[in-house]
């Protein structure tokens, strides 16, 4: 009798332990899965134009994240000495495009103000990365 009760307790113990685990795994999975569903939303194309040493350059992006910097691995390369190798990024979140400076040496500026924390950019804005001006065009989603 005692051993049967004890056995039942052991089974219940394992069920509770694995329920706890399953609960944790499910929420973990959901939190991991959420950003990817956010990335799947429609993104309004952003067009970046710049003119370094009279070399005009234009690119259109529809990814949720655009990296800007001097080195070639960036999405939008800015070959200028005042630009850090990994300078800044643009990110689409909460239905808006955000600009964020990635602790660059010479900083980023909007309307002559240094960008200390992420800001929302709109169509027609001009942002300076170091001494390089970048014009932003955002085409609203139809």
């Amino acid at each position: 009798m005692t051993e049967t009760l004890n056995f039942a307790l052991r089974v219940a113990m394992l069920i509770a332990l694995y329920a706890f685990l399953a609960f944790a795994v499910v929420t973990l999975w959901r939190s991991v899965a959420r950003p990817s569903s956010a990335e799947n939303q429609a993104i309004p194309p952003i067009t970046l134009t710049t003119d370094i040493d009279e070399n005009p350059k234009e690119a259109v992006f529809v990814s949720a994240e655009v990296l800007l910097g001097r080195e070639a691995h960036n999405d939008f390369t800015l070959e200028h000495p005042t630009v850090s190798s990994r300078h800044a990024r643009l990110q689409y979140r909460q239905n808006q495009w955000w600009f964020e400076d990635l602790q660059s040496t010479n900083g980023s500026y909007l309307d002559n103000l240094r960008i200390e924390e992420p800001i929302v950019v709109k169509d027609g804005d001009t942002i300076y990365c170091g001494e390089v001006a970048i014009h932003i065009k955002i085409k609203p989603l139809s």
Partner: protein, 863 residues
């Protein structure tokens, strides 16, 4: 609270199972719960609920899973430690409460994280100072081993535990402040590298190599993520290997650790005792464990701290250990996601460092327990006994919570995210490898490991479930189990039979029938498989063992023991037709009930009282080898032909054996084993034919009897010259049982029976069933007419008995005397065969004893 609920239920059921376990083990009809476990459970519950409430109310956006996982792991650890040692468990629950109190204080303190970052050098300096102090005022709570602790009144602090966290805080702050694109990599990491080397040297000097290697691994991981250069994660194993090789040659401690890791089975009672016992404990747990409180995890030394993993594995099985690994992995992955979402780079690096710390430390110690890695004495996060470690782990969890309350509104850019994913993937992979190793021990190698002689669990089974009794053929009890479950003891009722029955002692092991019939006596054989399986699941004990009845006859045995008393030697008396063993007498013998006081003396005595001489003793054949030559001659001679002429010079020993009948007669010279006569007979024969006859008589094979026997001897070399061969034959060593069987073949018309020691076993329903001997059927060792001629040739006067005596050749050193005899075909009764061996050159005495036993039935001592 709702997230914590299944965890609370888990620990509540765990507590209840622990409370019932002692009653289950002792098969009590009325359960007597062990109430003490309620104390740690309710203290844990109260503290955890208060904490969870404060976190829910006081910390907005705190990660919902960090505290429930931490609380459940800590509570699990407290109960497991309490089960191993209530006094340490009480300390551990106190430390848990203390750690939670510290968490409460820091819960809402403003700029807590910021201060950590600001004063990074102060924190690191404090940590190093504490380590430095252990060089001067360090102690070890166990009064032996490395002095890694500081003592405050009755509390011990192990500074290397907080140092781990302080080092992570320092590194996170350092990298958050230092990384600048314009600095070269070397400039970036150099200051931190120097400090890490300093800390490492301090730890190595303190012989705390586990923590030192953990530092190296943590540092490499932090470098990988902060510099985003994945090469460090490849450099890490290479560096670790290099350090291990260097340490192997530089330090004896490391060399021992690595040697026993490579070859744990070489020194199972010495240096690798813990490792081997841990592996066996993990195997004993199998998939679902023995059940809380029902296993024997304390066989592994230091099970509460370094080897708590093996304790969890034994009582909870693979289901418990994989749950632990998954929970730590989930905690680490949540930590990594907190890191990715942190507003500041300091928060990112700190959360990352803490996740790596939990995972790496678990991997190190679990790998060590599984013998996958060399043993490093790091603690198992939240589980191992130890205040410093538990409190540090809890503070680290609080830091994770604090960081999670300050999330960034933005996701980390893609390349930054990648290195976190990479590390998370690496942890998943490593835990997968560890889990596979755990499965290998608990499932695939389970049977082998449990069958190892180093596994002492049978002694526990014997205490809680009775072994079967051993009876003599006439129903007298020879060995009995006494007491009640939990306190069963084994007793040999007729101690002079100790050499045959053997002993089952937790200290000295098992011998004799106790080990050779273990499966039946212990209830593994002869019982219903399903019933046994369920019994083991419910009680972690085998079923009560089955009784065994031997063929030994207690009256004859006592008579033989009396005859042999005072003379080193052995007696075997058999039923010549069936091979049933009536007497196995040995002198000197020992008392299996009184091993404890006498063991050193028994081991030291030169007369080897622990040896079972009839079956394990090996003695030169001497001049009883003549019997083999006789059998061969009579097989080949026509009935009308006589033996070849042989020399018959009487030597001293055989003259003495002949006594009154001393006559110069080659028949008597052979009968009484005169060396010269036997040598002559052997030399007149063909060596190959003699060896063939000896083989047919089973002299070169171990007798198939249900007790350990000596390894059989090799045949003499037939290509020797005749004199050399005769000597080699005389020097061939045989056991008294083998010679008794040879005598039985002579008495049994040439048919060699197999020895039958066990008569029957009593099945669970109470019916005696014949014991299915593994012995072969009787074989024709010589033609019946040849056996008849030997009987006639060696007959004793007008009696229906024959015998021959033998001695050792003077060259072979120690004197001995053989007597082989049996009944002839004219005998009306149970056919008997006897072998007497004395370790003294007294053939007269051997003859007296043998004759007395053969004629015992006529005096009423009939089996």
């Amino acid at each position: 609270m709702p997230l914590l609920l299944p965890g609370i239920l888990f620990l509540a059921f765990y507590t209840a199972a622990l409370m019932l376990a002692p009653s289950v083990r002792q098969h009590l009809q009325q359960a007597q719960p062990d109430w003490q476990y309620l104390l740690p459970f309710f203290v844990w519950l109260a503290v955890s609920l208060v904490m969870q409430r404060r976190i829910n109310r006081g910390m907005t956006n705190a990660d919902p899973w960090v505290f429930p996982i931490v609380a459940v792991l800590s509570g699990w650890g407290v109960l497991t430690i309490w089960r191993l040692s209530p006094s340490l468990g009480a300390k551990q629950i106190m430390w848990y409460s203390f750690g939670c109190a510290l968490m409460l204080i820091a819960l809402n303190r403003r700029d807590f994280i910021g201060n950590l970052r600001r004063y990074k050098y102060l924190w690191l300096f404090l940590g190093l100072l504490l380590i430095g102090l252990t060089f001067f005022i360090g102690v070890n709570p166990a009064d032996a081993g490395p002095k890694l602790w500081l003592r405050f009144f009755n509390f011990y602090l192990q500074p290397s535990e907080p140092l781990k966290l302080l080092m992570i805080i320092y590194l996170a702050a350092y990298f958050a402040d230092q990384i600048r694109p314009q600095l070269s990599l070397m400039q970036t990491i150099l200051p931190s590298l120097l400090l890490i080397i300093l800390a490492g040297l301090l730890l190595v000097a303190q012989r705390d190599l586990g923590t030192a290697s953990l530092f190296v691994a943590l540092y490499a991981l932090m470098l990988t993520v902060t510099t985003q250069r994945r090469r460090f994660i490849f450099i890490l194993p290479g560096l670790g290997l290099l350090l291990a090789v260097a340490a192997y040659f530089a330090s004896d401690l490391v060399r021992t650790r690595i040697d026993i890791w490579l070859n744990p089975w070489l020194e199972t009672s010495g240096a690798s005792y813990q490792l081997v016992q841990a592996q066996i404990a993990i195997a004993a747990g199998g998939l679902a464990g023995t059940g809380p409180g029902l296993g024997s995890p304390a066989f592994v030394p230091v099970a509460v701290s370094d080897f708590i993993f093996s304790a969890i594995a034994e009582e909870g099985g693979l289901l418990f250990t994989s749950a632990y690994m998954l929970l730590i992995l989930i905690l680490a992955i949540r930590g990594l996601s907190i890191a990715q979402n942190s507003k500041t780079s300091f928060g990112r690096y700190l959360a990352f460092g803490i996740s790596a710390y939990y995972s790496l430390q678990s991997l190190f110690i679990i790998g060590g327990n599984l013998s996958l890695l060399p043993l490093t004495g790091v603690t198992m996060p939240f589980m191992s006994y130890g205040g410093s470690s538990l409190v540090t782990n809890l503070i680290a969890a609080l830091l994770l919570l604090r960081i999670s309350t300050e999330p960034s509104a933005f996701t980390l850019y893609e390349k930054g995210r990648k290195s976190y994913r990479w590390v998370a993937g690496a942890f998943i992979l490593l835990f997968g490898v560890v889990l596979a190793a755990n499965t290998a021990l608990a499932y695939f190698r389970q049977r082998d490991l449990l069958a190892r002689p180093e596994n002492p669990r049978w002694a526990v089974y014997d205490r809680f479930s009775p072994r079967g009794q051993i009876f003599a053929q006439d129903g007298e009890i020879l060995a009995a189990t006494k007491g009640s479950s939990g306190a069963y003891t084994r007793q040999v009722v007729y101690p002079p039979l100790s050499n045959v029955i053997g002993y089952a002692s937790p200290i000295y092991g098992q011998t004799g029938l106790e080990t050779s019939l273990y499966d039946v006596l212990r209830g593994y054989a002869g019982t219903d498989y399903k019933e046994l399986w369920w019994h083991e699941r419910f009680f972690n004990q085998p079923l009560p063992g089955l009784d065994i009845r031997l063929n030994l006859d207690l009256i004859l045995q006592q008579h033989a023991d009396g005859l042999l008393n005072g003379h080193k030697g052995a007696i075997v008396l058999l039923n010549a037709a069936t091979g049933e063993v009536y007497v196995l007498s040995t002198y000197p013998s020992f008392d299996a009930n009184r091993l404890d006081g006498n063991w050193p003396e028994l081991m030291a005595r030169v007369d080897a009282p622990l040896l079972s001489r009839p079956t394990q003793g090996l003695y030169p054949l001497g001049s009883v080898g003549g019997l083999i030559a006789l059998a061969d001659q009579f097989t080949r001679l026509e009935p009308s032909q006589n033996l070849p002429e042989i020399n018959n010079i009487l030597d001293n020993d055989c003259r003495q054996a002949m006594a009154a009948s001393a006559r110069n007669d080659s028949r008597l010279a052979l009968k009484y084993g005169c060396l010269d006569a036997v040598r002559g007979l052997v030399q007149a024969d063909d060596p190959a034919a003699i060896l063939e006859q000896a083989r047919a008589l089973g002299l070169f094979t171990a007798p198939g009897v249900a007790i350990q026997t000596a390894a059989p001897s090799q045949p003499a070399d037939p290509s020797l010259d005749p004199a050399g061969f005769a000597q080699a034959l005389a020097d061939t060593k045989l056991s008294p049982l083998q010679l008794a069987l040879m005598a039985a073949a002579v008495s049994n018309n040439g048919q060699l029976p197999s020895a039958q020691l066990v008569n029957a076993y009593r099945d669970p329903a109470g019916n005696w069933r014949p014991f299915e001997a593994d012995a072969a059927l009787p074989s024709q060792a010589m033609p019946a007419p040849a056996a008849q001629r030997i009987q006639d040739y060696l007959q004793t006067g007008n009696e229906s008995l024959w015998f021959t005596t033998g001695q050792n050749s003077a060259l072979a050193g120690d004197g001995l005397a053989w007597y082989l005899g049996g009944t002839t075909s004219a005998w009306h009764g149970t056919p008997l065969a006897v072998a007497v061996l004395l370790e003294e050159a007294d053939s007269r005495l051997a003859q007296t004893i043998g004759y007395n036993l053969l004629t015992a039935p006529t005096r009423g001592l009939l089996p």
